[in-house]
């Protein structure tokens, strides 16, 4: 049996708008193994959240999806609705940036859990509550708070509740879209440790979508750097952080302000419009190394060392 949990191949997601299709994800391929954490990094509007949503099939109507997404070998697009519904929320779970907007203010935490569990499994209410208690306890939330409403919790607690709720089904794959962005730095570190433990204990695969390279360095095995709807680099975190091949990855690393930053660095220009992205290499208008070929020819996806890929005409020069 293969260890691949998720496999995306030439995935394209185009949103239809009056001005034309927005190419939010434009030909993305990757694999995610059992127990592995893959970070997807990029700036606002690069398509990283769309990527996460497309895996769960929760895109707005009239969105075009091409390419294939296989989950445990099954092509998600060809599955009947009913079967897809069983996978979604049970085998693939999602946690969002802002937990408050994902919890219904009119229902208690217990209601949320009971509904989630009973939507997927034929168990009694009592059994569902018992599982909720255990899941919450593993997140450090006491049973006494089951009857509370979402607004009675702090931001960090809500995110723990969301995590507990997605884990109560024991998913194979967890997609976390900026799970700590609205949290303070200490609570962020606490949540990251929880995610790390879950992966270790349950061998769960994690797709972590974030703009924060620090988080990627701390919890991911591999990372993919996304720019204007495409992956520009993919590899093990150590390889990519030590020898980033793509100039965009290099620039992103240099522009991250951390405690040991020696100087400020910023990338000139603006991210492109995804309705009409630049031709060939999409980063060329902002790239300091760009040559004629970058404007005319799309760079190939080259494996520079085992498992370390990038799409840059001059990738070799940066090794």
């Amino acid at each position: 049996m293969s260890d691949t949990v998720l496999e995306a191949s030439r995935l394209r997601v185009y949103y239809s708008t009056r001005r034309g299709p927005v190419k939010a994800v434009d030909g993305v391929s990757f694999e995610l193994s059992r127990g592995e954490t893959l970070g997807v990094v990029g700036e606002t509007g690069c398509g990283k959240s769309t990527l996460g949503k497309s895996i769960l099939g929760i895109l707005p109507p009239r969105t075009t999806v091409e390419g294939t997404l296989r989950f445990l070998g099954k092509d998600l697009a060809s599955l009947p609705r009913e079967e897809l519904r069983k996978i979604r929320g049970k085998e693939i779970a999602l946690i969002f940036q802002d937990p408050m907007t994902r919890l219904d203010p009119l229902f208690t935490i217990e209601d949320h859990f009971v509904e989630t569990i009973r939507a997927h499994e034929d168990v009694s209410k009592g059994e569902a509550i018992e599982r909720a208690v255990k899941a919450l306890a593993s997140m450090g939330i006491p049973e006494s708070r089951l009857k509370h409403y979402p607004h009675e919790f702090s931001g960090g607690m809500r995110q723990r509740i969301m995590i507990a709720m997605s884990l109560v089904m024991n998913p194979k794959l967890l997609i976390a879209d900026e799970p700590t962005t609205s949290l303070d730095v200490i609570v962020e570190a606490q949540i990251l440790e929880i995610l790390e433990d879950l992966r270790r204990v349950y061998k769960m695969s994690l797709l972590l979508i974030t703009h924060n390279l620090g988080i990627v360095a701390e919890v991911c095995d591999r990372l993919a750097v996304m720019y204007a709807g495409k992956f520009v680099e993919l590899g093990g975190v150590r390889d990519v952080f030590r020898t980033p091949v793509h100039p965009y990855t290099q620039a992103l690393l240099a522009s991250t302000i951390h405690l040991e930053s020696k100087e400020l660095f910023s990338i000139d220009g603006l991210p492109p419009d995804l309705i009409d992205p630049p031709p060939a290499c999409r980063f060329h208008p902002r790239c300091t190394y760009a040559q004629e070929i970058c404007r005319t020819e799309e760079p190939a996806w080259v494996e520079y060392r085992p498992g370390h890929f990038a799409a840059c005409h001059f990738g070799k020069d940066f090794l």
Binding site: E43, S154, S266
Partner: protein, 412 residues
């Protein structure tokens, strides 16, 4: 005479919490959020002073209060030597030209119905510092300086046509056009993408070199603060816990909270992964801040004198599902729900059990736990059919001078 441009003394800001009548009777009056609870600092002319802390620590309230956008509850604010704490709006007006603010969200800071140029020129017109023609000329000039070029073209654009980074430049240009002495910058780069953040920070540094304003830089991000601040103050729940030159604080943080904040920042280097020592839980409610040092319930190095009180005891029992010892303690001392607290005291009514035996048992159990909290207990007694746990009052806490900085912690 000092060269301080802004002096803040014992600043307090409490926001009342409106309660329905019945709750008011129960709590004995209205409650208040203790947003800022006795904060003192001064800004030297031309420096960048960072006010750093997590959400809800009161940093934004301090920033708004020193500009009198929010009225202080008590304390004094002196701007360029003048006490402005109680100045009337009419008297404040001429001073307002000299102090400006930059908000976090550039999308919400610009009037969508005004062109960028109009927004930037507006302060000159409002303060009658220039006629329209001069104002426009000045706006074009500052727009070029902040990198909104070609200025003539950008002048006519509306906020909706600009990116987040460009909008923040426009907001900075508008704050700078009056050549203010003091700029309060409240999380000016928090909403911007990483690749743009540096450019906005550089712009602020560049404008400082050119016009020499003093910045009060409010941020939750210690890494950014390290880069641009000369001195910083770390705030926690309405108090400054550590304050001094940035260099020293980053090289050798003294306060356990400062240490925790620094430790928690993700390091963009996969070679340096490791388990972190993190404080427990989250920032408590500012309506009832903890006694003594406000960080004590989460502090990894707390001592018996740090301010333990009745609530901490109940919180301790709440942790029963995390540790078998605590679960055993809770089983013996009675369910958490039956305990009530009042300041230094926690109590639970006991009816059927032999109270003295229970008290003796409680003493043994709590003695075995051996945490700073249990060591802070003065007595476990039986009073009027209640099991009472009483704590010693906390040791007095004062900011202390330590190697050129102020630290508010009993360790020192």
């Amino acid at each position: 005479m000092t060269d301080a441009i802004l002096e803040v003394q014992d600043l307090v800001k409490h926001f009342p919490v409106k309660l329905p009548g019945i709750a008011r009777i129960f709590w004995g009056g209205d409650l208040a959020v203790h947003a800022v609870d006795g904060v003192s600092f001064s800004l030297r002319r031309g420096e960048i002073f960072g006010l750093v802390g997590e959400s809800g620590c009161g940093k934004t309230t301090v920033g708004r209060t020193v500009l009198r956008l929010v009225e202080p509850t008590t304390g004094t604010i002196r701007f360029e030597g003048t006490d402005i704490t109680h100045l009337k709006e009419r008297e404040l007006r001429p001073l307002r030209k000299r102090m400006q603010i930059i908000f976090q969200d550039p999308h919400a800071s610009l009037n969508p119905g005004m062109t960028i140029g109009q927004s930037i020129a507006d302060p000159l017109i409002i303060h009658e510092a220039a006629d329209e023609k001069e104002a426009k000329r000045a706006a074009l000039e500052i727009m070029t300086e902040v990198g909104l070029s070609p200025a003539e073209q950008m002048y006519r654009k509306y906020p909706a046509d600009l990116s987040g980074g460009q909008k923040q430049r426009a907001v900075i240009a508008r704050a700078m056009i009056l050549k203010p002495q003091l700029i309060v910058a409240d999380e000016p780069v928090a909403m911007l993408d990483m690749s743009i953040r540096s450019r906005v920070l550089e712009l602020m540094l560049d404008l400082k070199r050119r016009y020499g304003p003093t910045y009060l830089f409010i941020t939750h991000d210690l890494a950014t603060a390290k880069f641009i601040c000369d001195r910083i103050a770390i705030m926690y729940l309405g108090r400054i816990v550590e304050m001094g030159p940035s260099k020293g604080i980053y090289a050798d943080p003294k306060h356990p909270y400062t240490k925790a904040l620094l430790e928690a920042i993700p390091v963009p280097d996969p070679m340096r992964r490791g388990r972190k020592v993190l404080p427990r839980g989250e920032v408590p409610d500012a309506v009832h801040p903890p006694a003594g040092c406000r960080f004590h319930p989460r502090c990894p190095v707390a001592m018996p004198t740090c301010g333990w009180e009745g609530r901490d005891f109940v919180d301790f029992l709440e942790l029963r599902w995390l540790s078998p010892e605590i679960a055993a303690a809770e089983a013996a001392l009675g369910p958490v729900e039956e305990w009530t607290t009042d300041g230094l005291i926690a109590r639970r009514r006991v009816r059927d059990a032999d109270p003295d035996a229970l008290a003796a048992k409680a003493r043994t159990i709590l003695g075995d736990v051996g945490s700073p909290m249990t060591q802070a207990m003065e007595a476990v007694t039986v009073e009027e059919e209640s099991l009472v746990v009483r704590f010693r009052p906390p040791a007095p806490l004062q900011p202390k001078d330590l190697e050129g900085r102020l630290v508010e912690c009993l360790l020192y």
